[in-house]
Symmetry: C5
Subunit: 360 residues, 5 copies
């Protein structure tokens, strides 16, 4: 509903808060630059657009509808109808949402629509209020500024996701728990969402930068090409985060398997120590009349000593097979991922130079 | 078999229930707009189409055949033969089926065929009966309305799948059971089906919106482009559901592994407590003649006390290694996924700001 | 070696069993329609083709060679050399094999080669013997009929694979065993094979339907387009079977994990019940002189009673944690997949409407 | 270093062992056909090529360098510089290596370079020595023969890999062991290598067969198209081997899981039989004064009998739950994959006809 | 900030350390070859470039910005703005980083920018200082040399990664530990990074070699095509390393499962030996009055002997089922991967010739 209209007259004066008639007159003059910014577009605004600008009903419907529309350019000869997407990152809930910006771009006017207050549009509006600068280079530059700010606003989200990836990697190495898995999957889904939002825009921005439309002058095209480069960079960063999430997932799943193995080792060691000894005790608890050992004076202590020897032997056997870690490098199995990443890096570096001879 | 013919004469009168001769006359007049809607097309209807309209035998066969044909446009110069697909969602059985609509589109006629009663065609037929509106703008708009309604009818199915995804996610977190797996796989299959039905239509609708065919006038093309946008949006929503199903699958599989681990822990703890004690009892059950402890007066109670100490020590040891959860955050392993999603979100949010130092 | 030549003279008479000279004369007349069908092509047949038709040596070599060649069209100006593939399904061994058909298509002749007797070619040959119908519309229609029959013959195989998929799904749910896995993998491989055979043909058939070659007249092109549609439909059906096999695989693997979990639960329950009791028995089997309980009159029965209480408590504890299923819905874990698919569907249906509140 | 030059003079005489001057004269005459074959190309050979033929320095460098270069065609107007790849299969070490052949193709000359002695080039050289046949049809045919022989030499390797796949499949079914896994992974890597070597050549060979270069006459193009078909066939065979390796991998991994399950079943059965009986023995080993059963005359034998009954009951219980296989179809779990593939095929065949009713 | 300018005057003199005015004069003369190399480009350098060369603000911004920009060519009619990427491999930390080189290429000048000191640019600068050689062939050749050196510098990194892959493979076979997994995942991520850096450059280099830009003369194009070939080769090598890492991952995961199996076997064997014997000892420890065996003179030794027989029988049973490895080929399961790769290769070689008949 908040609708704000600005008109930069051909002689460079900035008019604000235009009435419907003034807007219509400015639009029909074919000169200067008219910018109408509509936030939370309503049915009423839709009718306003049809009345004043005679925009095609379908384009207006796309503005009014609260649904997300795919990025696109519709060429209506007199003007372009452009839809581009940004990312709204809800900090408090960590949810990645698509922010839609719809633009009507003519030779002397830009109409921008968005269903939610848009930080980027607001920033430009304030600059216009201050000194009118973003409007001074014409409609194509104003539209560029709006789109560029929208897409660059994705970068903080990417940075934040990168930080989350960093934390997840550390947590996966030091203390992987089910919530870690949840966090990994959530991060993967966020990267997929960013990819799905950004990728289809490349084609749209590419067409704008190719000189296909007369509303975008030759000198402006390179600026649209710049937006394209930003899109490519965002996708590359996003892809790197996805790779890290995939690696964290593999590490997590492997550490779950390692823990299970550790549990089984504890069980096996306990059984291997105590079951044989219980048998020995059971044998000397039998009630046969003729069991010569029972009468030997030191037999009891001999049996206790024998049991001690068995315990030590079994423990030694497991130790020799690396099932027990006392006196070994702790990193190898007790806490599988307790090495810091820095050590790991060094470890690989050394490995590359002095191939190890671990034949154990 | 139900065949209904409507004719909007050039002077704007709507004729209904045309006989074969009237239909033929209307078709051959080359004026006005003739709409023939055939549901549950039979051999007999096929012959009718060949007699009245002289449609090509192959196109008529595609209408009559109960099989599903790929979406396509066949250009027969005088008319287009178009096949598009929607989704029929059987609510009672949760099965996703392809609904096929075959259209003959000429300059002054539309013939629509479908092997099952089609909710979308029926809705338009009723509007025509009421005030003839959908037929007032010509054949290309009528065909657009038929296709648009068919494809928009996919959205309720998508919404329902989205609800199912929501329920599955919750169930996967709170109480994953084999039926949950079945539900996840079923959902994945539904999304794949929707994708397979929708994706090939983009090319068909794209060609219709490009001005390639004279039956579709310039002013109608943008409306076909609008159908294209709907297809893109449906695919995006569908893809998001697929992502959610994939994540639920990963969570499910991981929780199965966690449960197994829990089972093993119970076993290990039981064995580690009772096997050593049984050995102790066995030792004092041996029948050696010279076992000095047996005669000590408080020996029995000393042994019982020792056993109690062993039990407490073992439990403490497992507790210290986080195998036991009393007094710990329950979320970590007893009920691996008992945290609510809201908490998780908050958890990640905090994590992003204060990287944890879990070095345990 | 079996070589059969038919000649439909320009005046509509069908000549059979032509000699080499008659064949050559018919070919060189440039009129009527000559069809030579060679089954199990030999070196001798190759020489015959070079002598009579002067076909290029490389094309003849492709016919004679027993190897499978990729589908293709070679344009030799006077004629086309076409290779298309069908599926031979060996019912007794359930193996999917590629059936190759090589065609020389000129304006007044078709030469078809196949290394194995081909059911589809044989069927058409019999129709020709009966009334000459398939040859009445010219060389392009005869070639179309041969290819169309070949490719449509894939459908029974697809149907059979679909039945196998149905059986596998049921078996995976009710009684997954290693042979089930074998069957799933075999089915996947069959679908991949069908895909690999069918996919490259789309380009070949597409070129034939595009009016690129003068041997295929305009009125025949739509019939080749029809073959194209059949290919697309076959691939879609095949893809659906692949999806089902993938789902069956996921279900199978998950049920293997579930069984393992069940095995572990049995072990843990047995240990948790009997190890503590054995300790109790061991304690009262100790030979200390001062064990006051031993002399109490009802001590023995008290201990037996205590043991009974322990057994009941442990069982109750496991039951409360859902490890035991008595009195619970059987479906949940004892027989993980004992629910019928119908129930599952209903379950999901209900789930979609009344999201459950299982917070257990 | 071995450099051999042949010159077929315009009048059909074959000159051998040409000196540098003769080679240069033959090259500059622009007539006849000159073939220079260089094996283990050295710096010296490189200078020779620059001196005699004035080849571009970069092309000569590619010949001299021992590195593998991507397949390509460089068009130098007067001649083409072509790099194609074959496979060298080291039988004794089972390693798949890329064999590189560099060709300079002009109107009256072919210069072939390879860094290792090439079986295919050697075979053609010997044919030339014998009767000069491969050189009789001109430079384009000679180049075709060289490339065709190189690429066809891949087929024996593919056959061998197919045999290995066969063996691996049998081993996976009958006796899967870690070396089987190694063999599967090695086979997969070989197929990936073959794919990576062959796939990029399709574009190169395709360009040669399209009439893009004047050095390749129209009548030779179909022969290059034949090489293209061979490439497609090789890739299809290779892909089939990859599918088989993937299936063997799935079977292997599943059989590892099955074995683990079997191990656990043995443990559970042992525990379920002996733990309860040990408790019984422990109970009657208690030293209570008032244990009436101890004095009964047949109590001992009654207890022994009771133990026997327990053993039989437990075994029966496990047998009834299919944990034990005596008297059951052996195939189901004791040796999970002991069924022969022939039986499996029959099994699936039957399954397709009489869907089983296993509701166990 | 380090900015170095060189000017090769049309008469072949090399001027160094040009002032801003001299640089501007050289640039504006349109003759000779001017090279300005800027390392660690600052805002100040940006202003210098705009003052002297009048470069477009966006291109200058890309140079000054510390961010990584996607590889691209921007055509500004008078000059090209090219961004290409290399790899900086930090030896001490084993991290793969993107090194960015930005070039302005005009007819008589090259301006190169890089945010970090670039080994490749430095090497060329020193050659220029020595004898001016790299500048003698014109601007396009100088730009080629800069790009070629940058991209060829990737090869040492690839070699190092290949060495790491070698070490990882050996470690995976001989002693797989969690750090091995970390190393595998790290290697995979490095290959993905190299791929992501190199792949997009193919399009850029391809355009430069196609004669699309007048600044690159025909004789230079083949040299750019040579860079393209290097890119393809690097990607092929990189892909091979990725394959090896994937295989190592599969081997690692399988060996984790094998170890777990081994742990379980130890447990099962211990239980199967000692639980039955403990029962026997327990039976003869019962206190029944009527146990005839107790009075037999040799009963005790008979029981001991019986126990020995049981132990041997159980061990034999496990040995016969291959659970124990004494006297068997060690390679099969005790140390699953203790075979050397050489033996494995031989094993497969033999396997290919004499298919085994292991029917165990």
């Amino acid at each position: 509903m908040p609708l704000r209209a600005y008109y930069l007259t051909p002689d460079g004066t900035l008019q604000r808060e235009l009435s419907e008639e003034q807007t219509k007159a400015a639009f029909e003059s074919g000169k200067g630059l008219l910018w109408v910014d509509i936030s939370e577009t309503t049915e009423e605004d839709g009718k306003f657009l049809e009345r004043v600008f005679k925009f095609h009903q379908l384009a207006v419907e796309d503005c009014v509808s609260p649904l997300i529309h795919p990025p696109k350019i519709d060429d209506f000869d007199d003007f372009l109808f452009i839809i581009v997407h940004g990312i709204n990152h809800m900090v408090e809930s960590d949810i990645v949402e698509t922010a839609e910006l719809a633009l009507f771009l003519g030779c002397n006017f830009v109409v921008s629509n968005h269903n939610a207050p848009l930080y980027s549009a607001e920033a430009i509006r304030q600059k216009v209020e201050t000194d009118g600068r973003p409007m001074k280079h014409g409609a194509d530059f104003l539209a560029h500024t709006l789109m560029d700010t929208l897409i660059d606003n994705v970068l903080p989200t990417i940075d934040q996701m990168s930080d989350v990836a960093q934390d997840i990697e550390e947590e996966t190495i030091h203390n992987p728990q089910p919530p870690t898995l949840e966090a990994i999957l959530k991060l993967k889904r966020s990267t997929l969402r960013v990819h799905r939002v950004m990728a289809p825009q490349r084609e749209v921005i590419n067409r704008l930068s190719r000189g296909e439309f007369p509303m975008i002058r030759t000198e402006a095209q390179i600026y649209y090409r710049d937006i394209y480069d930003h899109l490519v960079r965002i996708e590359d960063l996003n892809q790197t985060i996805l790779d890290r999430a995939d690696n964290a997932l593999a590490t997590y799943l492997s550490s779950v398997a390692n823990r299970q193995n550790e549990t089984m080792k504890v069980l096996s060691i306990v059984a291997a120590i105590f079951l044989p000894l219980t048998l020995v005790a059971g044998i000397y608890g039998m009630n046969f009349e003729h069991m010569p050992e029972l009468k030997w004076e030191w037999a009891y202590f001999a049996v206790l000593g024998f049991m001690g020897i068995v315990i030590i032997s079994v423990i030694w056997w497991f130790w020799a097979r690396s099932w027990l870690a006392w006196g070994r490098k702790k990193s190898t199995w007790v806490r599988p991922f307790a090495v810091s990443p820095e050590k790991l890096v060094g470890y690989i570096g050394r490995m590359a130079k002095h191939p190890r001879k671990n034949k154990q």
